[in-house]
């Protein structure tokens, strides 16, 4: 119970250690999450996604400053990709927000994807719970630089910000499925560059074509330009912060917050079931060498994956 108290008291060392243990999938860390779980659900979780170099980290840095001005505490989780070859990673988002590292109201932690698809790390869901239990008013999650399909963030965030920059493609990109569908707020960053007006119009067209919005929330488009012009960048950030808060208020007013939270709980339950039911089976198959011999059979075309899977399922399901 001691560790739960330390987390709730905001002990930085305990929190960062615990996140590490979750990333490393140490079984005892899960027991701690079980105890922390009842203390969660208070923080407003904000997700930032968008292509590499769009300016997500820079905007988050400015958002932290804006939240701190309003006397709110902030936890930040930054996800960068792991190498598929070596498993190593360079976690570089933090560079943009180092100026907050001495502020006790801000906790920043970088995570590597460790092979997870969808733009996040597997540990992110639990890490959000921990920062929430730590008492942070806002938990900001930055995904890896995304393409079109990495939409996992909607399962974790109450409010999703998609950061875009001019010059990334034609109007067909704007009607494709995927990342543009998940935005609650759009940011056009580097809006002083050529093509920003066109991007704005394309997003407007895309939104105009939508057949209504859940809770009547039409995603606003915030333009941010020239971060070196403190006054204008600051104004954009204030606008963005207000839009984020309004979105959350809208979820509350329209009774939609439960839907968002349920999405996350379903995923968590799914993952927990996976690790409770499927993982032991997979481990057993690998350890007994059965996995290898099945792969050999497939290579020799002696059988097919479906037949093998059915056989394994029958064997293990009848056991319990």
């Amino acid at each position: 119970m001691e560790i739960v108290k330390k987390v709730r008291d905001g002990d930085v060392r305990t929190v960062s250690r615990l996140i590490r243990r979750l990333e490393d999938q140490i079984p005892e860390a899960k027991d701690t999450i079980k105890k922390i779980f009842p203390h969660t659900g208070r923080a407003h979780v904000i997700g930032f996604t968008g292509s590499p170099g769009a300016g997500k980290s820079t905007i988050i840095d400015a958002m932290i400053a804006e939240f701190r001005k309003r006397d709110k505490t902030v936890g930040v989780l930054l996800v960068d990709p792991s190498s598929p070859f070596t498993g190593g990673a360079i976690l570089g988002d933090r560079i943009r927000m180092q100026r907050h590292s001495l502020d006790p109201g801000v906790f920043v932690r970088s995570l590597a994807t460790r092979g997870a698809l969808g733009g996040l790390s597997k540990a992110v869901g639990d890490a959000i719970h921990i920062l929430d239990a730590m008492g942070k008013d806002y938990v900001i999650v930055e995904t890896v630089g995304t393409g079109q399909q990495e939409v996992e963030i909607i399962n974790h965030a109450h409010t999703v910000i998609v950061v875009m920059i001019p010059g990334m493609g034609d109007e067909i990109q704007a009607i494709k499925a995927g990342i543009l569908e998940i935005a609650d707020v759009f940011v056009i960053n580097k809006a002083d560059r050529d093509g920003a007006g066109k991007l704005y119009r394309e997003l407007m067209y895309m939104l105009n074509m939508a057949n209504g919005f859940p809770g009547g929330w039409r995603p606003p488009i915030v333009r941010a330009e020239n971060m070196f012009d403190a006054e204008s960048f600051g104004r954009s950030l204030e606008e963005l912060t207000n839009a984020i808060n309004e979105h959350y208020q809208n979820l509350v007013d329209q009774d939609l917050l439960g839907d968002r939270v349920k999405r996350k709980t379903m995923i968590e339950l799914n993952e927990a079931l996976h690790s409770a039911i499927l993982d032991p089976v997979l481990t057993a198959l690998v350890e007994s060498g059965e996995m290898d011999s099945m792969a050999d059979k497939l290579l020799k075309k002696e059988t097919d994956p479906y037949t093998l899977a059915e056989k394994v399922a029958k064997q293990y399901l009848s056991e319990s």
């Binding site: 060392r13 498993g87 360079i90 570089g92």
Partner: protein
């Protein structure tokens, strides 16, 4: 149980913008399979120590080309100690005269790496000397 992954931070304390070396190292740590956090130039020892604790790294590599290593490296070790994180192993490198090695070791650095040492030597040293932290 999954094997624990080594986390390492590369940091540049003080007024020193020469970070080619730090970037090469960060890249080389990535290729060695470590999760590598790079915090950029112009950091104070306080900022570096606080970041190292938030990131729960096993090892902190300091790079300094400006000649201020005799002050900045020990100051960073001291800040880690103040934060109760003296188990984070600190190593350093850059333009460091032979005569200063002992000063840095005495201040608590575990390794000092200067021009002429190969990347392979550094990785080998880390693999032999840094163990991913298992404490709570």
């Amino acid at each position: 149980m999954a094997k624990r992954k080594l986390r390492i931070m590369v940091a540049k304390p003080g007024l020193d913008g020469h970070d080619r070396g730090a970037r090469v190292l960060a890249r080389c740590f990535r290729d060695a399979g470590y999760e590598t956090i790079y915090t950029g130039c112009h950091q104070t020892p306080e900022e570096i120590a606080a970041a190292a604790v938030q990131e729960d790294v096993d090892c902190l590599g300091l790079s300094c080309m400006s000649g201020a290593h005799r002050y900045l490296f020990p100051a960073t070790v001291e800040k880690l100690r103040e934060l109760g994180a003296d188990d984070i192993q600190v190593i350093g490198g850059g333009i460091i005269p032979d005569a200063d090695y002992q000063v840095l070791y005495d201040a608590g650095l575990k390794g000092v790496f200067v021009p002429g040492i190969t990347l392979d030597d550094i990785i080998k040293w880390i693999n032999e000397n840094i163990v991913p932290n298992m404490k709570d």
